[in-house]
Amino acid sequence: MSLRSQKRLWSLIAAGTALLAASGSLAQNAFDSADFLGPPLTVKESALPPDLSAYNMARIRYDSVGGMGEAFYYFEGRVWARWETDFPQAEQNFAQRIGELTRIHAAPTPVVRRLTDPDLGDYPMLFMSDPGYLRFNESEAEALGSYLRNGGFLWVDDFWGDAEWLSFERLMNAALPGVRWQVLGVDHPIFHTVFDIDEMPQIPARSFAEPWGRTDEPPFAHRYPQGSLKQASLRAFIDDEGRLLAIGTHNTDIADGWEREAYGQWYFERFSTLSYRLAVNVMIYVMSH
């Protein structure tokens, strides 16, 4: 759900309010911590231990740099941390749809983990969203590298422009020094495992979604320098044996297509179907390679 312009507007209002209310001694860097505002209100994890015989969607919780409008944003009546963008509705909708479109037996409720959690290996595929202001430490990078080399897979979604990509690339370089990324063309098998996809779909935030016309988001909604936001791409980090370790769906917000599937018929047909098609292909590819 990265509703960039809306987020930025609400963020500015919230930041101004916060500055007025805060005492002069309140340091700016206090806003850098995701813990400052406490845990997000809408995160609902299953109280029961996950059924590991099923596919469990695992959302990575991370920290972000900056204050309101950067590490946090205000939207739909509450403050969101970057890591929880689209969570958990996107995962819940996706678990439902993937059970209908494929034979994957998916648990209905997603789990939330940090990269340093000891049971990270129980989730061979991780999902991260909106990592444009991502901040990580050495132990997180180390844990991610070990996880990926052991056979795990990471899908990062919803980041636009050069600056936001760079934050993720830095994490990957710290986790797997020397690893390089490349854009996967539509001739790659990942675009053909179930559905034949001939174009990388670009899904904008709901605020910018139109029944017709352009699909990219405006530059002002994203971190500077943005570069070009026109072209969505699937960028992959690949090991020496040709295995995909991680992918980034760049300049697109695939999970928003899941989360907002009920936004309207035109939205579902124009965006949700594309996002589900790509997600199904990715899932089958990851579960078979």
């Binding site: 059924d51 590991l52 015989s53 596919y55 479109l101 494929t102 034979r103 994957i104 037996h105 049971d119 290996g121 129980d122 061979p124 070990s146 080399r149 052991n150 056979g151 795990g152 495992t193 179930v194 044996e241 899932m283 089958i284 990851v286 579960m287 078979s288 390679h289």
Partner: protein
């Protein structure tokens, strides 16, 4: 003793006791009547003379009765009717073991061979008056021995049965009274010829030499090792050791001078036979001339038996595996990853992504396996192993179900069934042919679900190389594996089922079968009751090899069990090569043997054809070649389709003699008893001459030997009366 009995004890053993007096029967009546009178008189006497108690009176009466009985027996004129060899009309064969094991010590100052020479000379001399004695030596075969001094104790083998059969066949036209075998019984043959020895009807007397207990000795008795292995696979050798005393020993296997594996073991005093296993990597393609060796720290008399060589043919024969998976799941992904890049297994998989879509991986042609499980034998039977994942029974046609059954039963293929939401009863397989094939009585109700437990190797699994994993810092490699998180109840085990791995439920501590296997027809069926082995990859430290090893070993071994269309078995004896082939076509029906040939290359590099002939069954071909020279032989078999198969065999070897340093008493006793002879030791060997003199074999003469004048009778009567007199004196009743 013979002074009192007048004749040797052997005479009584072979003879029949008779009473020759014309009044013998009546005398017996009279003796009986006299005994009755004596008893009555004694009783009457007892009433009148009550000074003696009843016990004393009974003793005295019994002694008197015994004296009368002996006297009566003598008066009945007993004789011994027996048979004896007719002097000068018979021959006796003496076979002396001349193999290398006879050079082992018999006592502190002489070898077994020296003892045999002395005993043979003595027997020959004493038997000369009774029969013609012919002396032979034997090792690999028997040969006439002109003089005992020509014994060398250098024979490379001991083929006792064959040697006996040969000399008996050569002497069948003469009157053979008996055969004497002087040996330690260390027979290195398969013992097949012993049956013909028993059938000859000639008593064989065995004279055993050598210690009957292992003393100051440690040796490798046997090594069981598969003859072939895929490249870069884990190979397990079962090593059997024999030792005389407790100590530490190092067991190792070397390929040339390169150490492949070693293990330090303790030789416990109370356990003479020790079995251990060595696990090593087969390495690259080629022939491994492996040396298994034990280095003992204690006393060891013979060092020649501390090594044993075995050949291992390591080859790169591709095995074809097909994996049918009915749902995308992590087990599928990580199983595929474990097999990725395997240089032995060609891995093709069909993944049902949705009800109408299948994702094929590993196929090389656009339409390969496009219709799922092949429905014709020629296509399905090209695979060695089929893996059935979480796939419903309804997804196969009746024809496919039946062909899958034929794949295992008739073709000899292997089938691995994995647990899952659509597997076993959950997938409706309980009413399909698979239910017959599985090693369990499939439960009729769905049973797959979350359950946390750990895998452990069962007793049977400990004997199986499928479950060998590298030790993790000296601890059980299975104990430290991450827990499994799902399980599918299997039902009761069938009688032929073998449980190789067990699932220990962490909540209840119950032990459940996890990996079960059983033969079915010509093939093998295995069942894994979990779908969460992927945690062994994802929840172990980076670089842990156990998940990959487990799957590669399991799939390779299962695929290796599957026979090729051409089955070639080559057995090497001490001096021959036996070849047996079964030829089949792509549908595994018997194939014609025309166009098949075999060539043997000897250790010296020369080669010749190995003559082949059709066997008794369609597709069966046999061949035999005599190979007098020991060494490694290469056998190249050219098949009708242009392919060829190469195998290597080791003929002879010469060190078998050192494997049995103790006397094989059981063999010598069995041989003697089966032929009507006796087993003897050097201590009582002098009795052999008398035993042979009254032998039932050969040309006999009948003898009637009078027994009435045995000094034994007089001695008995005097003894009884003296005893009676002494008792009466003691009791004051003379």
């Amino acid at each position: 003793m013979e002074f009192f009995t007048k004749y040797p004890i052997e005479t009584y053993r072979s003879g029949e006791l008779l009473l020759t007096s014309p009044l013998a029967v009546q005398w017996w009546w009279l003796i009986g009547a006299a005994i009755v009178v004596m008893i009555i008189a004694s009783v009457g006497y007892g009433y009148r003379t009550e000074a003696l108690g009843l016990g004393k009176k009974t003793t005295l009466g019994t002694l008197q009765i015994l004296a009368f009985a002996v006297l009566g027996l003598v008066l009945a004129q007993p004789v011994l009717q027996t048979q004896s060899l007719k002097a000068g009309a018979n021959s006796v064969l003496v076979l002396i073991d001349d193999s290398a094991s006879m050079s082992f010590p018999e006592s502190a100052d002489r070898t077994r061979l020296a003892a045999a020479t002395t005993l043979a000379g003595d027997l020959t001399e004493r038997l000369a008056a009774t029969a013609e004695v012919q002396t032979f030596s034997f090792a690999g075969s028997a040969s006439r021995l002109p003089a005992l001094s020509e014994l060398t104790g250098a024979g490379a083998s001991s083929r006792l049965g064959q040697s006996l059969a040969d000399v008996l066949a050569a002497g069948q036209n003469s009157a053979l009274a008996a055969v004497i075998v002087i040996s330690d019984g260390a027979d290195t043959s398969t013992g097949e010829s012993l049956a013909s020895v028993v059938g000859a009807g000639v008593p064989v007397h065995t004279l055993g030499l050598g210690s009957t207990q292992l003393e100051s000795e440690t040796l490798i008795e046997d090594v069981r090792l598969q003859s072939e292995a895929p490249i870069n696979s884990r190979v397990r050798a079962d090593v059997t050791l024999r030792h005389s005393g407790g100590d530490e020993a190092l067991v190792r296997v070397l390929d040339g001078g390169r150490l492949l594996a070693a293990k330090q073991i303790t030789l416990a005093d109370e356990q003479e036979l020790v079995r251990t296993e060595l696990v090593f990597d087969s390495g690259r393609q080629g022939i491994r001339d492996l040396t298994f060796e034990i280095v003992a720290q204690g006393a060891d008399t013979l060092v020649e038996n501390n090594q044993l060589r075995r050949l291992l043919s390591v080859r790169q024969r591709q095995r074809n595996v097909m994996y049918l998976e009915g749902e995308p799941r992590w087990e599928y992904k990580f199983l595929r990853r474990a097999m990725a890049g395997d240089d032995v297994v060609s891995f093709k998989s069909l993944l049902k992504t949705s009800d109408r879509k299948t994702y094929r991986q590993g196929v090389t042609e656009a339409d390969e396996l496009a219709n799922g499980l092949p429905a014709v034998p020629e296509e399905l039977f090209a695979f060695d192993l089929v893996i059935l994942g979480s796939m419903g029974a309804a997804e196969l046609s009746d024809q496919q179900h039946q062909l899958l059954q034929r794949f295992v039963a008739q073709r000899g293929g292997s089938l691995l069934v994995l647990a899952g939401r659509r597997a076993l009863a959950d997938g409706g397989w309980d009413s399909r042919p698979l239910a017959d094939m599985l090693p369990v009585q499939m439960a009729a109700t769905p049973s797959f679900g979350p359950l946390q437990g750990r895998a452990q190797v069962s007793r049977q699994g400990a004997l199986n190389s499928w479950t060998v994993l590298p030790e993790a810092e000296g601890s059980d490699p299975w104990a430290s594996l991450p827990a499994l998180v799902d399980y599918q109840s299997l039902g009761a085990l069938k009688p032929a089922a073998s449980v190789l791995l067990e699932f220990v439920d962490e909540a209840s501590s119950a032990t459940l079968p996890l990996l079960v296997t059983q033969p079915y027809g010509l093939g093998t069926v295995a069942l894994l009751a979990t779908s969460s082995t992927w945690r062994w990859q994802m929840r172990t430290p980076e670089g842990d090899p156990r998940h990959g090893l487990f799957w590669r070993q399991l799939l390779r071994q299962l695929a290796e069990l599957s026979p090729q269309p051409e089955q070639i078995s080559i057995r090497a004896g001490e001096d021959s090569i036996d070849l047996h082939m079964t030829l089949r076509d792509r549908a595994f029906e018997p194939a014609a043997s025309a166009g098949v040939s075999a060539e043997v290359t000897r250790p010296d590099g020369s080669s010749s054809d190995l003559p082949l002939q059709a066997g008794g069954f369609p597709g069966e071909v046999n061949g035999f070649l005599s190979t007098p020279d020991a060494g490694v032989y290469r056998v190249d078999v050219s098949l009708a389709d242009g392919n060829s198969v190469t195998q290597f065999v080791s003929v002879g070897g010469g060190d078998l003699e050192y494997r049995s340093p103790v006397q094989n008493v059981a063999l010598l006793q069995r041989l003697a008893e089966a032929t009507g002879g006796q087993y003897w030791t050097p201590a009582n060997a002098s009795g052999i001459v008398d035993a042979i003199r009254y032998s039932s074999s050969g040309i006999q003469e009948r003898l009637v030997l009078p027994l009435w004048d045995l000094p034994l009778w007089l001695l008995l009567i005097i003894g009884i009366k003296v005893l009676e007199w002494l008792l009466r004196r003691r009791w004051g009743r003379i």
